[in-house]
Symmetry: D2
């Protein structure tokens, strides 16, 4: 019987996919890659996976790696997609593929399954990362399969399907938009945000930040320390990468730092409205820029500024694991070392 690793979130989509994969004849290994997304308790997630029929289920916490090895090199490039987006979701996708492929090798799975939809960027990022890491990989993306989509045309069918299979589904109130959260940021898109007449930052119920208007009318001082361009401490307290981001999320969040509202060009060609908040990373970008103003050679900095949009494009499109991105990383490692 073929087996697969499923990038499992415990939400409705991947719960349905977990059941459906078994109908397709797969043994399913559920992997919850912990990026700092808001979640029920971990025991509940694992139990839900087992109840859903997973032959194995595990949680892999990669938050530190996400900050240190994924977000920080992008920060060091001062890379922002289309001038302003800090790439909080884009950065996380290759890491999910990397973790799932590692586990696929360990458990001897034949395929890697993800629940990304067919019009978004994430399907590309998952797939491109997986194929780069293992050109032989078999990627199963149910939402890109006609048969799956016709079986589940809407949320109702998915809920009914779970109930049939005795999988508990939480009745959640319909949200006016969808969101994606990890330790780096929260993104908001779709729903009411697709109406351009709607003020994005007015509609969204932000999770990490207060509004600039609600922020205190006084300055809060924060000291961020860098070594070779890498953040190492906040207010003189040495912290791991995740600790730095979390601490700055709080500080930036309470001061109304790091919200944007934009229309961006997706990899797949369409334009899409996105609202983002990334308080900690915004503070890191700003302070890293100041650091570089003081320390970096002018010619090097100017070339880097011309290349940064290309780095952001690679990350946004999903070419994290690619020869071009590797060479660009090597370029900036040298630049940051000075």
């Amino acid at each position: 019987m073929p087996s697969c690793v499923l990038a499992y979130s415990g939400g409705l989509d991947t719960s349905v996919i977990l059941l459906w994969l078994q109908e397709q004849g797969y043994d399913v290994h559920a992997v919850y890659v912990d990026l700092g997304q808001p979640c029920e308790d971990r025991a509940a997630i694992l139990e839900k996976a087992h109840t859903g029929g997973a032959v194995s289920a595990q949680i892999v916490d990669v938050q530190e790696e996400l900050c240190r090895d994924f977000a920080f090199p992008v920060l060091q490039w001062q890379a922002k997609y289309e001038s302003i987006y800090l790439l909080g979701t884009s950065i996380a996708r290759p890491l999910i593929s990397k973790v799932c492929l590692q586990i696929a090798r360990e458990v001897g799975a034949d395929a890697y399954v993800h629940g990304a939809t067919g019009k978004g960027n994430d399907q590309c990022r998952f797939q491109l990362a997986a194929e780069a890491l293992d050109p032989q990989v078999q990627v199963v993306a149910p939402w890109r399969m006609e048969s799956f989509r016709s079986q589940f045309p809407g949320r109702t069918e998915m809920i009914d399907y779970c109930r049939e299979k005795n999988i508990p589904v939480k009745a959640t109130a319909a949200k006016p938009y969808s969101s994606d959260e990890n330790c780096l940021h929260i993104s908001y898109e779709a729903g009411r945000l697709e109406d351009l007449d709607v003020n994005g930052v007015g509609v969204v119920d932000f999770g990490m930040t207060v509004s600039p208007q609600a922020a205190p009318d006084e300055v809060e001082q924060v000291t961020i320390s860098f070594e070779s361009g890498m953040p190492v401490a906040v207010n003189n307290k040495q912290l791991p990468a995740l600790g730095i981001v979390q601490t700055l999320n709080e500080i930036g969040g309470r001061n109304g730092v790091g919200r944007i509202d934009m229309v961006e060009n997706r990899f797949v060609g369409m334009k899409s409205r996105g609202v983002y908040e990334a308080p900690g990373m915004t503070l890191l970008y700003e302070t890293h820029m100041v650091l570089e103003q003081l320390t970096v050679d002018r010619e090097l900095m100017h070339l880097r500024s011309r290349l940064a949009p290309e780095v952001a494009e690679l990350v946004y499109y999903g070419f994290w694991y690619s020869p071009k991105f590797d060479a660009l990383l090597a370029f900036n490692r040298e630049a940051q070392s000075r």
Copy 2:
């Protein structure tokens, strides 16, 4: 007797230069290029020039041209020097040279004289623009001449010199930094700002903006209209370029928009601390960006983002009149026309 056109501001430096040029044997035509800098009444300036011995004196108001033909094309490039500086001073320099050279042709002057100092960017911008517009031009820059500098080692000697010559000098209190203002922005540098431990935005007495903390805790809505990428109206009122900038300076200013504090790389090689406020132009950059998010082709936008730092560099360094800049302007005229 040789004659020259002096870019005259009515301040201490150009008052001294006006006198000194006559000692060197020049007939001096004083030209006050009005960029919206704060000034005494115009009659007073003209009279001061005549009192100082100018054979002719005139004021040329180029504010509309500055906004429309200089600031707006740079805005349309989304060009910011070293990621954040909106180039408010850099943009104005080539225009001053252009005006002075025009008048030099009209009055048959042999030389063009400016009062820029020898360590700054402006000397280069004045000179490069002048040489580009007229390769045969003779540029006299007293502050780059050893003899002038040794005659006027400090402010005291300059004041004494004016008094000797019966030119009235206002006793002004020493300022903790120097500033340059035009209708686009105010820049602050030198003095106390050279100490990096000083909080730039804390020290500066801003002229156009309140601080974000002092700004009202409520949102003010403003509607800016563009045609082919060019701002044409504010709150549905059609305005000339200058009117748009002035109106937005007020709106942005009272809402705490558009202050930055940076260390920048000068053309001449040194790093320099600069604090800037540009409320109107900041609003225009932001809204133009949103406009482009909705209307511009992705590939074109991404290429433009890679070229924008180079455009900013050209403007900052002073290569306004250059084949490379002309080609880049043509590129973006095509891009904006869509």
Copy 3:
């Protein structure tokens, strides 16, 4: 009954497609876009189209336009794909789409049909140009359709099909590679050239050039005149664009100029061996470069050199009609005007 315009060459593939389209229920308008490809007499082509059932058939000679409006702007960019390929085939494709769409409008056709295969670059170039010129266009590419491919798995089935339909097919000896010729160049690929151990220039039977070894051991002088970067005369004889290319093809050809042998990266992702000869265009690239060495501003030239690979990429991929390419053309029109 729906109707279509078929980009018709009179060869086996488009003869089959002409018949097949009628079986699909189309009225077919055959359009032979004359790019200078070697062909039987024109009357024969038109007759063959009529015999094959075309409701109309015409020949449109666009050689002058191909040279003047397509090849020369690319030449002025000094654009070479992957450093050496002069883009002779790539340049012609958008023009074919343009002509066919014009005729489609005239005859009121519903679709545009081309015979490009499914692994090559040309399918993309035809399609991208057509969609850019008319976003509503319906493009039919039989070789990209599973049903067509299974009906015609090989050359034999295609010949049989034609014979069944009483369409004469010339028995041609199998060639060791395929070629594509127009007035700009000849390309050779596939077949024996796919073996990297084969010396490409040794295997190919070149149509336009002698080998450097066979070329005369003496220098032939040729004078090429340019106006604003545009070639206008050869040996002091004013000629239209096509005349210039043809004359230089002869001169370059007899002197062994303009052969290359490379492995290139196709738009669709695979690497592909290509051998090319373009004697006239090679002479034009070299002399235009010398012209620019003497006349173009250094900074402009250096920027252009950094952008030229991107221009070549756009042309090779098929983005002739695109906002990005338009802006780059505007850039260089300005640059060449000096």
Copy 4:
């Protein structure tokens, strides 16, 4: 008494400078950096330096380092200045500065003296490299000093000066141009070559290559082996970097490979005619390009092509030792490692 290291060639200019420096009060350490330039026997050079009053004299052979660490990284970038010049002279200058500064440290010298003229590129390259390697370095460039130039307005005065000082000067016939040779190439410029009506390759008496017309009318096969983008063998014979270049100089030279004739933009702003021959390096560029066609990722290659002109510019201008160039080297080391 202050001491200096003189980059000494044994020719007329540096012989004069050697004497002149002693008149200025310097102890002079003569260093002949052997780059493969054509020279009299080494003993004669050392003796000439001693006769001229040098307190020490030595020859440092850096040909292997020049090829391996300077020419090959530039080759791996496929960097050519203004599209065609392989940078054979530019590459060597930073290495001369490096060697002289090393010796200056060893002998405790206070200054570094070179004999480059005041209108050329080399003065910049020597100086920029020296200042980058040691920001405190004192560089003495007699040809940039008014007093030196007025003492030696022409060749006659230099010869007379040497004779006065009893330094033997070879009476050499006036050459119609000047040349610079090292193991990588020979460059020819000035004199008759400044007349654009002169056919450069017709006038020059080439030292390394026959003309294409004089080359044999048959193909010579040569096999060049690369490891990680680095040439390691010729015709299956492992060779050090210098051996590879020398062997290929012979092979390319007898086959008429590697001559160019161009007008280039100097760093100092003027345009200058140059004729070059670099048979071995030309073969290496061509074969390395073919190697990359087969092995390098498309996106990486395309980005590299856009950056290569900038790398060539840095090398040509003399910014070998600079943060920007270091980062670009790191980029390509990563790219070549694949």
